[in-house]
Amino acid sequence: MQDLGIRVLFEGKNLIRLLEGLWVTIEISLLSVLISMILGIVLGMIMTVKNPLVKAVTRLYLEFVRIMPQLVLLFLVYFGMTRAFHVNLSGEVSAVIVFSIWGTAEMGDLVRSALISIPAHQYESGRALGLTEGQIYRYIVIPQTIRRLVPLAINLATRMIKTTSLIALIGVIEVVKVGQQIIEASRLSVPSAALWIYGVIFFLYFIICYPVAKLAARLEKAWNTV
């Protein structure tokens, strides 16, 4: 009965397989987060440039990526690029490409707003005190930008981790797909497997995202006094 349904977890290597699937999810998220952070900082700095053409192009990119559901972007790359450029991308590669494109846009906007949120008088006071431009950035602008940026960037990372659950829908074997395989395999021996497996996956995501989100909230509170 249902009370015993949880035993499906401990049958064979089910739990190990589920955790291996989770590792694929984490790997893809971490890789995408890393790429997005680096490219996002560059994009954010480009976006503060006054050139109208640069502004228009970056704005268009940002708005398009933001307005499209991530699943649509995954479909565009996974099914569309394959046809358009005759390249065969695996689900994993498509996922990293899509999440990097999306993450870069979001991160770029965070960096841009953090940069423009530094009031002009900070630069002017620095100059009045006789600091060089390099010193102004090193001691005044960058420390303040980082304080504003880090909590938001961590929040973005948790959003990206949650969004990676979508890649099961383009056929990547990650935690959700492994869960489905286990459910299919034990359909007769443990009929209530779906309840338990999806319940466990639910909590696995929670266990990963909750501490990270809490850390972001704590940092935000601690640094907000500036």
């Binding site: 991530q70 479909f75 659950s165 829908l169 959700v176 779906a194 995501y205």
Partner: protein, 219 residues
């Protein structure tokens, strides 16, 4: 890209878009109410309910909608709760959206200065009147930007409903790709449909936000 194929596909996308919009509307309205309730419970620190709301918000914010839907759609029938895919989709969206809306309202409620409430009470308004006339109008107008972001976020999240066998836009695109290999046309229509739904909403909210900022309520 073949125009005839696009024309042939259009009606299917139209009805799918209608379904997406309808479910999103119900889900957003539900999320709004749940969020309002949760944020008021937390604002007034109602014992018991407050902890429940807190646990709910953390659970819902830190898990993906897809897993919530799978749990509702495939998991719950095992203990005898059978939901149709539409009910599942709406329930899932409200479960997810409620916590996001609650956070949006919370920042709005916190922005209302205490003096407003004290003044209202000293003028002899009842608790209900304070909420209805003083607290909510100010809190809601402060949380409009966050609310707008959540609405767009929730409409985007509806794209995963195809996974619980709901014939939405993604489902339509996927079946056209599978049936006829007209990948370019199917994806083009998909992007066009989402742009058609989300772009006007995004523009309208931008205008509203700008208007509110001009109004400069409070200080």
């Amino acid at each position: 890209m073949n125009i005839d194929v696009l024309k042939e596909y259009a009606p299917a996308y139209f009805s799918a878009a209608g379904l997406t919009v309808r479910i999103a509307l119900i889900g957003i309205a539900g999320s709004f109410l749940v969020g309002l309730l949760c944020s008021l419970i937390r604002y007034y620190k109602i014992p018991g309910l407050r902890q429940i709301a807190g646990v709910y918000i953390e659970l819902s914010r830190n898990t993906p909608l897809l897993i919530q839907l799978f749990f509702l759609y495939f998991g719950l029938p095992k203990i005898g709760i059978l939901l149709s895919s539409e009910t599942c989709a709406i329930t899932g969206l409200i479960f997810l959206g409620g916590s996001y809306m609650a956070e949006a309202f919370r920042s709005g409620l916190e922005a209302v200065p205490n003096i407003q409430i004290e003044s209202a009470l000293s003028l002899g308004l009842t608790k209900g009147q304070v909420i209805g006339y003083i607290l909510l109008p100010q809190a809601v107008s402060v949380s409009i930007p966050a609310f707008a972001a959540n609405v767009i976020f929730l409409i985007k999240e509806t794209s995963v409903f195809s996974a619980v066998a709901l014939a939405d836009l993604m489902y339509t695109a996927k079946s056209f790709i599978g049936m006829s290999y007209n990948t370019d046309e199917a994806l083009f229509m998909l992007v066009l449909s989402y742009l058609g739904i989300l772009l006007p909403i995004s523009v309208i909210f931008t205008i509203i936000e700008r208007k509110l900022r001009y109004a400069g309520f409070g200080n």
